[in-house]
Subunit: 172 residues, 2 copies
């Protein structure tokens, strides 16, 4: 079965964005093959805030070319999203997606959506690019969650040029 | 000059203890040489809460044999601490300690003391044993800090038996 994989960049103190949503602390390591990474996915899951932030940044659609995108929100209307499917029922939508054939499903963010899907037992893997910075505040990778989760380290890689450490875990 | 090193175990989501101060999520990896690690230090810095938690756990003194221990608190009296020096002035005490000859200084915790010393520019290195678990809440490794800090990855090691990843950074 295809996996739901939470794949994000994180500061060493556990934030996926700065206090104002900043991403400027994330270095583009020349040795990280983002193209190869993108090819492992064909579907994108985003929370409303992450979708709106991406929309703003790209001046239009919030999703990515070649990916089926889903936005989870109780307030967004489908008419607001040309390039993504809006769902108010993460459990039903993600459960159905996992049963379809396909590549891995990228849980793009944010932490709130990760929390919801983790609490529902729908996340299979966590993949963090740990950036050597302490932000001291921001959007946490996992906001206060209903339960804890045991992980299994499945791979690791160090990118020497930026000191980014890529850790991949299976959710047990 | 001897370094102040913040050396702690951390959950992947950034906590150094559970919501009730639990440490039961930290595995004792048989391949981690704690004896060798301890020998790199001769001085221990603790916040009041960490000291009191250690006192409770060990049923007596909060510090460690063979280490000069310092507890930072505005409320503790020296008479309450047989085995540690109480200081209400972290800046003066730590600055003076760094100028004395000796081994590295272990910033044992907690996050509040790390935050204070980081904001004062008195922390030289951060060393985290990243445990493969998501706690979903607890005591953060760095509570909301006044400023962010850039780090440089200086070493890494993976302990396969427990999946613990030891990352060491210099504070720039």
């Amino acid at each position: 079965m295809r996996r739901v994989r939470y794949s994000v960049a994180m500061s060493l103190d556990g934030y996926i964005a700065g206090p104002k949503g900043e991403f400027d602390w994330i270095p583009m390591d020349p040795d990280i093959d983002f193209g190869a990474l993108l090819k492992e996915f064909d579907t994108l899951l985003m929370g409303r805030k992450s979708y709106e932030a991406a929309q703003k940044q790209r001046g239009g659609g919030g999703a990515m070319p070649g990916m089926q995108a889903y936005v989870f929100s109780r307030t967004l209307r489908q008419a607001d999203c040309r390039d993504a499917t809006v769902s108010a029922d993460a459990k039903a939508t993600v459960t159905a997606l996992k049963q379809k054939p396909g590549k891995d499903i990228w849980l793009f963010g944010g932490g709130e959506l990760f929390k919801s899907l983790l609490d529902l037992g729908l996340v299979d893997a966590v993949q963090l690019g740990i950036v050597p910075v302490l932000l001291g505040g921001g959007l946490p990778m996992l906001p206060s969650a209903a339960r804890s989760a045991k992980l299994e380290l499945t791979s690791h890689k160090v990118y020497e040029k930026t000191g980014t450490v890529l850790l991949t875990y299976a959710v047990r």
